[in-house]
């Protein structure tokens, strides 16, 4: 048993504590980097929102806030199952750990599924930026709005949610690896570092969505 734990210790560290602290700090630094990565997009969004307030308001009403709200709920649940997974890992409960990880993956997949539905809908309505972009005449609240500025909104919408979805896909991939590792009994009360830092990542991706949802879907609804 103790041999197994020793194998989890990489040669450059003195003990598991040091390894745990280093990995956790590494993930935090990585997340700071991620904040600035998304920060560029948030900056672009805020600038153009200030520049074209009406167009952005009108454009944001073309999004389906019910689907957005559903996805927000889904992600919050997935954060909960992720937190429970970390806890199971700390308690050394292998079965529960595998189950919670699978639930997290499932919720992430639901989120992406809803996103696909939304994207498909935008595609059908010619709201994807590019040569085929067009605003349909039957939207009365779009009268008098410059379609280019609406397109700009959708450029940002796709860049931001697309980047977020990409992070979800990566996250699901990593979770799948964790499931295999957990299944093989690689974690224990003493060694659960990977679960813990993947948990940090997952919560971060959720938090980004918590900002994206009101910014893109809600901000101009009364």
């Amino acid at each position: 048993m103790s041999n197994e734990h020793a194998s989890a210790l990489a040669h450059q560290f003195d003990d598991l504590d040091q390894q745990f602290e280093a990995s956790t700090l590494g993930m935090w630094v990585f997340l700071v980097q991620e904040i600035l990565f998304f920060g560029g997009l948030f900056l672009a969004y805020s600038i153009y929102r200030l520049q074209y307030p009406q167009a952005f308001e009108a454009a944001s009403r073309l999004l389906d806030y019910k689907l957005g709200a559903l996805n927000t709920a889904v992600l919050i649940c997935s954060s909960l199952t992720m937190a429970l997974a970390v806890r199971s890992a700390q308690l050394g409960q292998r079965r529960a750990l595998v189950n919670y990880l699978l639930m997290t993956i499932a919720l992430g997949a639901v989120f992406l599924g809803v996103k696909v539905v939304e994207y498909g809908d935008k595609f059908e309505h010619h709201l994807v930026p590019g040569p085929h972009f067009a605003l349909s005449a039957h939207e009365p609240h779009l009268i008098g709005i410059n379609p280019q500025h609406v397109q700009l909104f959708f450029s940002l919408y796709f860049a931001m949610t697309g980047m977020h979805a990409l992070h979800m896909v990566v996250g699901i991939g990593i979770l799948a690896v964790l499931v295999v590792m957990a299944w093989r009994g690689r974690f224990s009360e003493e060694y659960y570092t990977p679960v813990d830092i993947v948990g940090l990542y997952w919560h971060f991706v959720d938090i980004v969505w918590i900002f994206l949802f009101p910014l893109l879907y809600l901000i101009s609804r009364h």
Partner: protein, 552 residues
Amino acid sequence: METNVVGVDQSSSGEPSAPPRVHYLNAAYGIGSWLLTKDHKRIALLYLLSVTFFFFIGGFFAVLIRLELITPPGDLMQSETYNKMFTMHGVLMIFFFLIPAIPAVLGNFLVPMMIGARDLAFPRINLLSWYIYSIGGLLGMGAVIFGGVDTGWTFYTPYSSTYSNSNVILAALGAFVAGFSSILTGLNFIVTIHKMRAPGLTWSRLPLFIWAHYATSIIQILGTPVVAIAIVLVALERLFHIGIFDPKLGGDPLLFQHLFWFYSHPAVYIMILPAMGVINELITCFSRKRIFGYHFIAGSSIAIAVLGFLVWGHHMFTSGQSIYGGFVFSVLSMLVAIPSAIKVFNWTATFYKGSISYQAPMLYAFGFIGLFTIGGLTGLFLATTAIDVHLHDTYFVVAHFHYIMVGGTIMGYLGGLHYWWPKMTGKIYPEGWARFAALVIFVGFNLTFLPQFILGYLGMPRRYHYYPEEFQVLNVMSSAGASILGVGYLIPMVYFVWSLRYGKASAQNPWGAHGLEWETSSPPPTENFEKQPIVTHEPYDYTPKPEEVAVV
């Protein structure tokens, strides 16, 4: 205490029958043992090879540029081709040489050694970042092979996103990918410096080289992702005609410039701070004196890192930002001069009553101080809005940033490479040749770039392949200097390679220097230290020579 300055390892010749010592270089053989290594020292050498490769390719483009500019008419190449030349020169030199050079080669090798660790915190990520860097380099090279990019290394929109050819995507992707390698290196350094210091190595005992790399890593973590997202947006704009920067679609090209320079001004400190870190080590060692103002030097590294993020707008004085913005950025830019000057003053104070020896690494340190000072002072001209309107996009700017980046960063890099070469390879290079090369580089450098200050002041714009005849004399001087400089860069390459085979074996500590990296054999064992070092002293604990003590 060890006194011979260029020490030769006597112990190895003493026991002829002893089996050869196992160190990191001969611990494993075969190409696989290098391409899959997780040893930070081997990864440093991988970087050394690739960084050198890109340096000489980038230098090749520089030669073409200077050749074209010998005569006033554009007779060697079309403007189209010329634009591609200076773009590739800039892209390769900045993203694939200057930014990675010192952190990825010297930093990778020395950060764990200097803090008494067995390796970086994440060796696998370290190897990964070399692969990422190489892939980025290949993408950049691909852009050249498929016909070249003509946007300049700054990729300004809407030219890059709408009008230029689509090789822009490849080149920008190369820079983007290389950026991730830089982020991962920074992350690895931060965690390693925080969590893996040897017992007794408190923050105020850290070598200044480590402080410099710590500050650099902060910039890499905070700046690189911002330019990364800007580059992604340019690529998306090209591919899908989304309009974030395109004014025709409601976007704003100024936003690109803000995002770009928010990284790219701090990036000049990614290049120069590690060089300053090297210079600290050289100066105290070859002055045999404790460095003057340790805490100020360490603090000024952090101050530069922080202030560096507040000055990006000085690249946009003439882009149409508001005059208030211009004023604020002008004042903030001047503030950066303060921590930089603190360092220069502290180095000078360290010389005072030091017993200075003029070994090759020290010559590079002197070169660094001179060239960096000229580059920094001319930066003040450019930071003054009114003067910048005259000098903007002239050869004055070209001279300014070459003094800083080429004069500063490369001098620091070469100085460090010479200083730690015996540690890295276990071999001694020929000292005479090394001093000679340092001299050639210094002369060639000034002959190349001093005339460019005058050219710019007289009004010769940058990025043109022809010019009025009255500028020819200065341009010929500059081209002549460039060829001297080129030879100067080739000489070290020749004798470094020569020394691998024919150089004498180096002692553990050939310079009699202080620092944990000198407390293990040269070249070090894979685990760096035979047993965990424990630190009980301040850094740079150089005691003056006995006769000097007697004088006091």
